[in-house]
């Protein structure tokens, strides 16, 4: 793969829904090859933070700078091509087969010819053991299968960063393992990842950095060993006591 200087810089990001202030000024940087796990209590704004990065939610104020360029209404589609996203509820396109789900964006965005896209899709599907489902519709897949297809779909455009928004929260315990091991595999191959999750042991294992958000602010961040064994703030100590 070619040399890429992935650089995501977020400055004073704020987001409100009406009067409800969800993000209250977040400053953050992401370097190539990092795997950042975002933790926090429910309602802390961690999902909103992730969703603001590729403008699934339009920030109320603040700057998002991706590869040296400020993200705006004008370049957002180009930015989204380079930032893959995996959702809690998979969001496979219901009226398309697995194959069509994978090839839609690369073909429509003229990144690949149809044959090339289908070839790559088949390779990826074979890799996750779902080649036999290429012509199936999402409704006939299990949750774990759907999520693995969704991850592979995000990979089709070879993004520089992958965002995971609670990728295993809607899954049964058995499929969680399958999905997590696929994410680990991407991590091992050097993928830059940001993930919101409640799977603490997975977070420990995969993260190169942990970010803790509470009430719309980053209140602590650091290396996982440090974060989990010697939390600096009372709030994080409290949180870890409850979840570990």
């Amino acid at each position: 793969m070619e040399e890429r200087a992935t650089d995501l810089v977020i400055k004073n990001l704020r987001k409100s829904f009406g009067k409800n202030k969800v993000l209250n000024g977040i400053d953050f940087e992401l370097k190539e090859g990092e795997r950042v796990v975002v933790l926090g209590p429910s309602g802390s704004g961690k999902s909103t933070f992730l969703r603001c990065i590729n403008w699934m939610e339009e920030p109320t104020s603040g700057e998002i700078i991706f590869d040296g360029e400020v993200v705006t209404e004008k370049n957002i589609r180009q930015v989204r091509r380079n930032i893959g996203m995996v959702f809690q509820h998979f969001n496979l396109i219901n009226n398309m087969t697995v194959m069509e789900n994978l090839t839609l964006a690369p073909v429509k965005l003229k990144v690949m010819k149809r044959e090339a896209a289908e070839k790559r899709a088949r390779e990826l599907l074979r890799h996750i053991g779902l080649l036999g489902k290429a012509d199936a519709y999402p409704a006939s897949l299990s949750g774990g299968q759907k999520q693995r297809v969704a991850i592979v779909r995000a990979m089709m455009l070879s993004p520089e960063v992958l965002l995971f928004d609670e990728p295993t929260s809607a899954l049964d315990p058995e499929s969680i393992g399958d999905v997590l091991s696929l994410i680990s595999e991407l991590a091992e191959r050097g993928m830059t990842i940001m993930i919101v999750t409640h799977e603490m042991s997975f977070a420990k294992e995969i993260a190169t950095r942990v970010v803790f958000i509470d009430k719309g602010r980053i209140i602590e961040e650091g290396a996982p060993e440090e974060f989990f064994s010697h939390p600096k703030t009372e709030r994080v100590r409290e949180f870890l006591e409850k979840v570990l």
């Binding site: 590729n54 699934m56 589609r77 180009q78 989204r80 091509r81 930032i83 893959g84 996203m85 959702f87 509820h89 969001n91 496979l92 396109i93 219901n94 009226n95 398309m96 839609l104 964006a105 429509k108 965005l109 199936a136 519709y137 409704a139 006939s140 299990s142 779909r153 995000a154 455009l157």
Partner: protein, 234 residues
């Protein structure tokens, strides 16, 4: 009972009566058909404006659409028909069939808009998000993802609207147009028939057959659209 059967035989063996019924039936079909076309076209536009993202460009059109649907759905169809006939198109020699088509078309548009709007809104927002996250344009997302899923929700309710329009056109007899309903009344008041029961019974059969056929077609379309939802499990 014998009398009833005899009268039916009489009705069907008198070319004049058959002619009247078919004439009326044809008018009913013409008004319904073109009204539904107008309704679908205009209704689609209203629904698209209604579901479009709120920006400075869509505020005014959105407001106009809301006012329009509120007025149309809030007043009786018969009154709207009268306004068209005796106020707006009260032009001497203006073909009454066109006035009727416009009246029913504009009315149906408001209801069709609601059907299409709720069909679009019933598609999971996650479907749109998936498209956005992949960098697709709003246009592609609408035509490739949202519309094909919305149509499955729209078809059954649209069938209902078509049926409603066909039956509702019967009120054109109130402004003296010779539709199926009027034909039945006309035959019933004729010298030989001298009873409304038989022609009205036959007119009812005409309506019923038409609507049965439409219901059948709508079911067929519905079924073929649901193919992609074959659920193996879950």
């Amino acid at each position: 009972m014998d009398n009833f059967v005899n009268k039916i035989v009489e009705l069907f063996s008198t070319p004049e009566y058959i002619d009247s019924l078919l004439h009326g039936f044809l008018l009913t079909l013409q008004v319904s058909y073109f009204a539904i076309l107008i309704g679908v076209a205009l209704g689609t536009v209203i629904a698209l404006v209604d579901t479009a993202k709120k920006t400075k460009w869509t505020v005014v059109p959105k407001f106009i659409c809301t006012v329009y649907t509120t007025i149309v759905r809030g007043t009786p169809m018969a009154l709207q028909l009268f306004i068209m006939f005796f106020v707006i198109f009260a032009i001497k020699g203006f073909p009454s069939i066109i006035t009727a088509i416009i009246a029913f078309g504009l009315n149906s548009a408001a209801y069709t808009a609601e059907v299409i709007r709720s069909g679009i809104l019933s598609v999971d927002p996650g479907q749109t998000e998936a498209g956005l996250a992949l960098g697709l344009s709003r246009r592609t997302i609408f035509f490739k993802i949202v519309a094909p899923q919305a149509i499955k929700n729209i078809i059954p309710a649209m069938g209902n609207e078509i049926i409603t329009v066909i039956k509702e056109t019967a009120i054109v007899s109130m402004v003296g147009m010779y539709d199926l309903n009027m034909a039945a009344k006309d035959i019933g008041s004729g010298q030989n028939m001298a009873s409304y029961i038989v022609p009205m019974f036959v007119a009812a059969l005409f309506y019923l057959a038409t609507i049965y056929l439409i219901t059948f077609i709508v079911r067929r379309v519905e079924k073929s659209l649901r193919k992609s939802e074959r659920r193996v499990e879950e």
